[in-house]
């Protein structure tokens, strides 16, 4: 019950933690390829948390949930691919 009660707070804290993680990575002068992957992975997780729990798409039929999920996944993969080829 408590788990359900504080689920939203846990999601909020996860989003804050992932954003802090991204910010700290940005402060480091040396930015290896691994950082780019981790940063984009963190962005993917954050985006999906917002789609599922803030937008409430977790409770909605899959076809509607798939649209923002696919959008996020495609955008992140394309960004990752362009950075992978240039770095």
């Amino acid at each position: 019950m408590n788990h359900i009660k504080y689920k939203l707070e846990l999601i909020w804290l996860s989003l804050i933690a992932l954003s802090l993680f991204a910010y700290i990575m940005g402060q480091v002068e040396y930015f290896p390829k691994l950082f780019s992957i981790l940063l984009l992975l963190g962005t993917l997780i954050k985006g999906q948390l917002i789609i599922d729990y803030f937008m409430g798409m977790k409770q909605v039929k899959l076809k509607y949930r798939l649209i923002p999920t696919l959008w996020l996944t495609i955008v992140i993969i394309v960004i990752a691919a362009t950075y992978y080829k240039t770095n």
Binding site: L8, S19, A22, L39, G47, I51, K85
Partner: protein, 200 residues
């Protein structure tokens, strides 16, 4: 029986379906701009990395925390109506109104920080035509800025209705519509911030 009800998926996303058409179109538009930024970077990586150093990552990070938290407040407002309005409609509207007001305050702080950031950028003589990085930076962030402003107008109208105890358990579609739009604004920034401010 209880388990069946709790696992049943809703047939439509929260709020008026027309807002979801808007949301899907906005996602497509911003998605193309994000990918356009990433492809353009390939032509001059050094320029993008050097230009990115001009930006204040801390203000971008603070704005990320602000939008995430304001989105959380909006969810709390919707929850207040859904869980309390059946028995205590007036109290539910008062509580939800406070959450909305808090979210609006954070939205305003976001705008103030962005204006400060824009003024710093402009004071350095940087404009849309300085280089391709700043063209994308200004275009993406100003476009997003306008979405935050529209979101605030929507939240203001929702709060006005709340002051009249306008939302009930049966009728809160307007609240969910505005909430969905605000979460879109948050989602877009979640991708925009690392892409433009951090990733190099």
């Amino acid at each position: 029986m209880t388990k069946q009800v709790s696992t049943k998926k809703l047939s439509h996303p929260p709020g008026d379906f027309s807002i979801w058409i808007v949301i899907y179109v906005e996602l497509l538009t911003f998605g193309l701009l994000f990918m356009g930024y990433a492809f353009s970077r390939r032509s001059d990586v050094e320029l993008f990395n050097a230009s990115q150093l001009v930006l204040n990552q801390t203000s971008g990070f603070i704005n990320t925390l602000i939008l995430i938290t304001s989105s959380y407040f909006i969810v709390k407002a919707v929850q207040s109506i859904k869980t309390m309005a059946k028995e205590h409609q007036a109290q539910a509207n008062i509580l939800a109104s406070k959450w909305i007001l808090s979210a609006m305050f954070l939205g305003l702080v976001f705008l103030v920080i962005k204006v400060w950031e824009f003024s710093n950028i402009f004071s350095m003589g940087i404009t849309l035509s300085t280089n391709i990085y700043f063209m994308f930076y200004l275009m993406l962030t100003m476009f997003h800025f306008m979405h935050v402003m529209l979101g605030l107008i929507i939240l203001f109208n929702i709060r006005q209705k709340m002051r009249l105890d306008g939302y009930s358990l049966e009728d809160h579609i307007g609240l969910e519509t505005g909430a969905s739009y605000w979460h879109l604004v948050d989602l877009l920034w979640i991708v925009l911030f690392p892409l433009v401010y951090i990733l190099r």
